[in-house]
């Protein structure tokens, strides 16, 4: 169990992360985001980017977290494979580790345009695990 999965959406793709804590679920959903583009095991965690965001509720904070990653992936032309996420109240502080896109090695399938509010959820499942999910526009 890798702690993340994709789910089908008509034209695009949904991502879902599971974890013992919301922090872990956020981190694993981010791994699912990378997996939309490439195989995360091929992305070397060589350099880190600090990401901080704040939103009044946890679902919008998840939306903002993913979109911050999309922004850094696009502007730094990087892919990320390791995420240290800390949620503190309505704030998120994270370090995302990765490397610049290498088209030959990563064979990136598609760029992520953004995380949407569709199927957006952060909740605790009956078994106690946390789940964080939404649909990405690709």
């Amino acid at each position: 169990m890798s702690g993340w999965e994709h789910f089908a959406h008509g034209a695009d793709i949904g991502i879902r992360g599971y974890g013992a804590t919301p922090d872990e679920a956020f981190a694993r959903a981010a791994l699912a985001l990378t997996a939309v583009v490439t195989d995360p095991s091929q992305v070397r965690p060589d350099a880190s980017v600090r990401i901080e965001c704040r939103m009044p509720d946890r679902e919008l904070l998840f939306f903002e977290w993913l979109n911050s990653l999309v922004f850094h992936m696009a502007t730094r032309r990087m892919l990320f494979s390791r995420f240290d996420v800390r949620l503190e109240g309505d704030a998120l502080i994270a370090d995302a580790w990765g490397e610049p896109v290498d088209v030959a090695r990563h064979a990136p399938a598609v760029e992520v345009k953004g995380a949407t509010l569709t199927e957006l959820a952060v909740r605790q499942a009956p078994d106690g695990r946390w789940l964080a999910q939404c649909v990405l526009d690709v």
């Binding site: 994709h6 089908a8 959406h9 008509g10 034209a11 695009d12 793709i13 583009v37 939103m55 009044p56 679902e59 919008l60 939306f63 903002e64 979109n67 999309v70 922004f71 696009a74 502007t75 032309r77 610049p100 896109v101 088209v103 990563h106 064979a107 990136p108 399938a109 598609v110 760029e111 345009k113 953004g114 995380a115 949407t116 509010l117 569709t118 957006l120 649909v135 526009d137 690709v138």
Partner: protein, 476 residues
């Protein structure tokens, strides 16, 4: 889709009468087979759209509709600012002003086939495509503002193309009311290296031959003749538009409660047209529309250079450029009264009929060209707006085939290398930096575009003019 509760108005028009929060009916254009293939989410989403404040007439779903974000892709809805109408970032989408432009080459198929490999390689070299690719232009802050207010006109002024192109672009290449000051620094940063790039996913630059003509008179006037070669470019406003969509979707979700709008789902986040946020979004969105028009203009210029290298003396003229992810202020007759409305077309193409003043003069007698993108390896279509489309769906038609299969299913079913080889054996050359991307975009993962355009025609939304078959496809 479960058809229970859908009222069949004709073989191609189905209606959901307003119930619950719906303010107007939802109208779906499809035959029974296409409708049954559609996700139930399409019905749910179009009924949700019908419940938004200030909606006028009906919420419409086109024959290629599929599950989107708030609005279904293939959704059309108009709002009246005077009646508390709204603008929705999800109703436009992340790829603001994504669209298609088609260029006439005047070349015969044989002439292009004889240099097909060289042309494919040259286009793949010249057109930046795929994840991590960058354009050759770097705009200063002032220059970016000029691009955001000038659109394709700015691009032509800077030497990317001909002034003659502008008459064949929506709004003559420049959308009024753009407000660069309503765009975040993040959106500007995302665009810094992306001017003149194609993107990825279903975006492409395709060399196509006219395989069939349905309406000879209109085709001749559009410059389409069987055996001639055209080029179609499908892309949008790149990182700038994606970030504007992201920024305003978030802001609309945050501010929705303060507007007192009850949303059946957060994904419908919107703002009153008369609110400060609604106005700011319109200004930012129009700037992104100009970015998309400028981007397609730059790609046109790169494409012309490539053709000149491989086929010296070739002269590529613009047939038309039309967007399918937009919100535009238009005048429509509703119940015999002309009203100024904000028309959202999310994955739907404007399709104005004969005589409409927005149609270029040279085409006005026939109606506006409606450019329908296929998927790699399948046909594309040129349609033409018809008079009936105005009352049926505010002058709108479909935009493409629409996916029938998820990206995951596609990669399980096809191998990228095999697809490229199979298509090459059929005379279609694919150039893409990503074989996984090719597999995800497999032609078989899309609905049959021929059925979609047939239904669009039978429903009275547009008329078929020509079918285009691919020869070369450059993808991201």
């Amino acid at each position: 889709m479960n058809l229970a509760g859908l009222q069949k108005d004709s073989d191609y028009r189905w209606i959901v009468e307003p119930t619950g929060a719906m303010r107007v009916p939802a109208v779906l254009y499809a035959d029974e087979a296409l409708l049954r293939d559609m996700d139930d989410k399409v019905r749910q989403q179009i009924c949700n759209v019908a419940s938004l404040p200030g909606i006028v007439g009906a919420a419409y779903a086109m024959p290629d509709a599929h599950w989107g974000y708030g609005f279904p892709i293939g959704g059309v809805a108009a709002f009246d600012a005077e009646q508390g109408g709204v603008v929705s970032a999800g109703g436009v989408g992340f790829d603001i002003s994504c669209g298609v432009r088609t260029l006439l080459t005047g070349l015969r198929r044989d002439a292009v086939v004889s240099v097909q490999h060289a042309l494919a390689n040259e286009l793949a070299r010249a057109i930046p495509a795929g994840v991590g690719s960058t354009g050759r232009l770097r705009l200063s802050s002032d220059e970016m503002d000029a691009m955001l207010t000038g659109g394709a006109r700015w691009a032509v002024k800077r030497g990317h193309g001909d002034a003659g192109d502008l008459a064949h672009i929506e709004e003559e290449g420049c959308i009024a009311g753009a407000e660069p000051e309503s765009i975040s620094q993040r959106a500007r940063q995302r665009q810094r290296d992306e001017m003149g790039t194609l993107g990825s996913g279903n975006h492409y630059l395709e060399v196509q031959s006219v395989a069939e003509v349905f309406d000879h008179g209109i085709a001749a006037d559009f410059g389409l003749e069987v055996g001639e070669v055209v080029v179609s470019i499908h892309c949008g406003s790149r990182g700038l538009g994606h970030q504007i969509g992201t920024d305003y979707l978030r802001d609309m979700a945050l501010e929705a409660p303060s507007f007192g709008i009850h949303l059946p789902d957060r994904e419908l986040a919107c703002a009153p047209l008369r609110s400060e946020l609604g106005q700011r979004y319109l200004g930012a969105m129009r700037a992104a529309m100009n970015c998309a028009l400028a981007n397609r203009q730059i790609l046109t210029h790169l494409c012309r250079d490539s053709f000149a290298r491989i086929l010296p003396g070739s002269d590529l003229r613009l047939l038309y450029d039309v967007s399918h992810n937009i919100c535009k202020e238009e005048v429509h007759a509703v119940g015999g009264v002309s009203r100024r409305l904000f028309v959202h077309r999310k994955g739907a193409t404007r399709a104005f009929g004969p005589g409409h003043v927005a149609v270029p003069e040279s085409m006005r007698a026939h109606g506006q060209p409606v450019l329908i993108g296929g998927s790699m390896g399948t046909a594309s279509y040129v349609l033409c707006g018809v008079e009936s489309g105005e009352s049926l769906a505010l002058g709108s038609a479909c935009h493409g085939a629409g996916r029938s299969m998820s990206r995951h299913q596609a990669t399980r079913q096809w191998q990228g290398r095999q697809l490229v080889d199979d298509l090459a054996a059929r005379g279609i050359l694919i150039r893409s930096p990503s074989l996984r991307g090719v597999a995800e975009e497999a032609p078989g993962a899309y609905k049959d575009v021929a059925r979609v355009v047939d239904v669009a025609e039978r429903a009275g939304l547009a008329r078929k003019v020509a079918r285009l078959e691919p020869l070369v496809c450059v993808k991201g």
